[in-house]
């Protein structure tokens, strides 16, 4: 195992975050605070409790997930896309590193960033509403698994993407709608029955439901199902990466 290489990639990626601090940390935090002010404080005042929880508190897990997912995906996808784009990937390809060491470096860094942002948002939310975390270990597990899984997804996107547009389109057109429609701001049970069924095809529903359960013990789907789904998704992403590396798809000619 070439740990020096993993560390080099990881540190390089973290240094990139530091260079673009505003963009990578401050802006997701700021936008979350704005969501919070608008949905939680302004509109939330007029909304009754959802499943026995204040609306402001209810949306916190969904808000964290929204940032976590978009950050994990965009960081990991940009991280691997950039060397491909400017050509510096030659160095990765000619170095004595295995594919999984490359993944560990990039995905590890992207997941770390997402995690940090998630924690910052959680702390920020604590300033606005009362938070209660019923199952802290489950919460941490969900947080970590989500960061890793979606960083892996981002890595896949970064490799497959042929240009910057494609790189930004996926988070914009797929991730954000999935999170919004995944019960960030409402309970699935508030939807008409037909849409409740449709929603169950949205993987993010399981994430948010499980994550929210770890706070308030209310869930749209059983928490075991949530865990199962995220593990399944994790396995899918790993398989995709395994296939990409095995075939050299879009990396080695």
């Amino acid at each position: 195992m070439n740990w020096y290489a993993v560390r080099a990639i990881y540190r390089y990626e973290m240094a990139r975050t530091a260079r673009t601090l505003t963009q990578s940390v401050i802006s997701p935090v700021l936008s979350t605070v704005l969501y919070f002010v608008v949905f939680g404080a302004a509109i939330g005042q007029r909304i009754d409790q959802v499943e026995g929880i204040d609306y402001g508190s209810f949306i916190v897990p969904g808000l964290i997930m929204l940032s976590l997912l978009t950050q994990a995906v965009s960081n990991a996808s940009f991280g691997i896309f950039f060397p491909k784009f400017v050509g510096t990937i030659y160095e990765l390809l000619s170095a004595p590193v295995s594919h999984w060491e490359i993944v560990l470096g990039y995905v590890g860094a992207a997941a770390t960033k997402a995690l940090v942002i998630g924690v910052i948002i959680l702390a920020t939310a604590g300033l606005f509403v009362e938070l209660r975390i019923a199952h802290p270990f489950a919460m941490i597990a969900f947080l970590l698994l989500t960061c890793i899984t979606f960083a892996l997804l981002g890595f896949v996107i970064g490799i497959v993407a042929g240009n910057f547009e494609q790189l930004q389109l996926v988070p914009l057109l797929i991730i954000t709608p999935m999170v919004f429609l995944g019960g960030s701001f409402y309970s699935i049970s508030m939807l008409p029955p037909f849409w409740q069924t449709v929603t169950l095809f949205n993987p993010v529903v399981y994430l948010i439901s499980g994550f929210r359960w770890s706070f308030y013990e209310v869930a749209d789907v059983n928490v075991a199902v949530s865990f199962g789904m995220i593990l399944l998704f994790l396995a899918l992403c790993i398989t995709a990466i395994w296939w990409i590396f095995r075939t050299g798809y879009k990396i080695r000619s």
Partner: protein, 308 residues
């Protein structure tokens, strides 16, 4: 000297069906400076990229330091430093950070002293904390060399290191290459500049259309293949060559003062004796005689013409 890189019957056909390497075999000796000389599109970059692991071979094998580059890629690649043809470098990092990154990537523990020496050797130390995008093109190329040397490789591949580089920097680069060679690093550089091969290589491989046409010691190559030029200065200039001495390879300089005879050293007979006696018989008085070895360039042009 043992061979440090052995390429055996290597072929590469790109997905678009283009065959860039067609059965290349090549043994690179430890510690030598080998120039791969060939026109654009000959397959030089493909050959280097395949050895270094960037391009996957269609068939054939490569061993580096005895390690197969596919099955023992870690051991093989740790020995290699690569400076690719394109100037591709992370613009926002600092010089030192990117060199440290390269060292780590190649599995070496941090060593500030080594990084400092590499940067000093390449006259980059003063710019160590500059962002790379603020450097000139020549400096960026030095940074790429520094990156390739950061893990103290035993073999350095330089793919067209001086293409588009000004004369001064080219001299500097050659000096760097020689210094490295003195420390025992094996150096392989590709070029389509003959002077470059001529100036620094010990052996020269000529490659065209995905095939190695020959690999020779540079001096032997020039001796063996070189045409020579015999220049005979006349005591008094003549308006034209007398008809009775005309033969292939013979011409008269513009001012009429020198008879020039190009001959092939490889030939059974060079025809020099005959020519000299004919000149004397024609009544021409000789003042001086000199010969000139043809350059690699002449050799190269001939070779490529013969084989394409």
């Amino acid at each position: 000297m043992p061979d440090i890189v052995v390429v055996d019957d290597l072929s590469k056909t790109y997905p678009n069906g283009h065959s860039a390497l067609a059965g290349v075999s090549l043994a690179i000796r430890e510690g030598e400076i080998l120039a791969l000389l060939g026109p654009n599109g000959a397959g030089k970059s493909t050959l280097i990229s395949t050895i270094c692991g960037i391009v996957t071979a269609t068939s054939g094998t490569v061993t580096v330091g005895g390690h197969d580059t596919r099955t023992a890629f870690r051991a093989a690649r740790s020995l290699i430093g690569l400076v690719p043809q394109e100037l591709t470098i992370e613009p926002f990092e600092t010089v030192r950070a990117t060199v440290e990154f390269s060292r780590g990537l190649f599995g070496k523990p941090p060593a500030p002293a080594v990084v400092e020496r590499v940067l000093r050797d390449l006259s980059l130390w003063d710019r160590r904390d500059s962002q790379i995008r603020t450097l000139s093109g020549g400096m960026k190329r030095r940074v790429m060399i520094a990156k390739a040397l950061a893990h103290e490789p035993r073999i350095l591949f330089l793919d067209e290191p001086t293409a588009g580089v000004d004369v001064e920097l080219r001299r500097d680069m050659w000096a760097v290459v020689r210094r490295l060679a003195d420390t025992g690093v094996t150096i392989i550089l590709t070029t389509h500049y003959i002077e470059e091969a001529e100036a620094i290589a010990e052996r020269v491989g000529v490659i065209a259309k995905g095939r190695i046409l020959l690999v020779e010691d540079k001096d032997q190559l020039m001796q063996k293949l070189g045409q020579k030029e015999l220049r005979v200065e006349l005591q008094t200039a003549v308006p034209a060559l007398p008809a009775e001495i005309a033969r292939e390879g013979l011409s008269l300089s513009e001012d009429g003062g020198t008879v020039i005879y190009v001959y092939d050293r490889r030939g059974e007979r060079t025809g020099i004796t005959r020519l000299l006696s004919d000149l004397a018989a024609a009544g021409l008085t000789l003042r001086d005689i000199s010969t000139r070895q043809s350059s690699l360039e002449d050799i190269f042009v001939d070779l490529v013409k013969e084989n394409t």
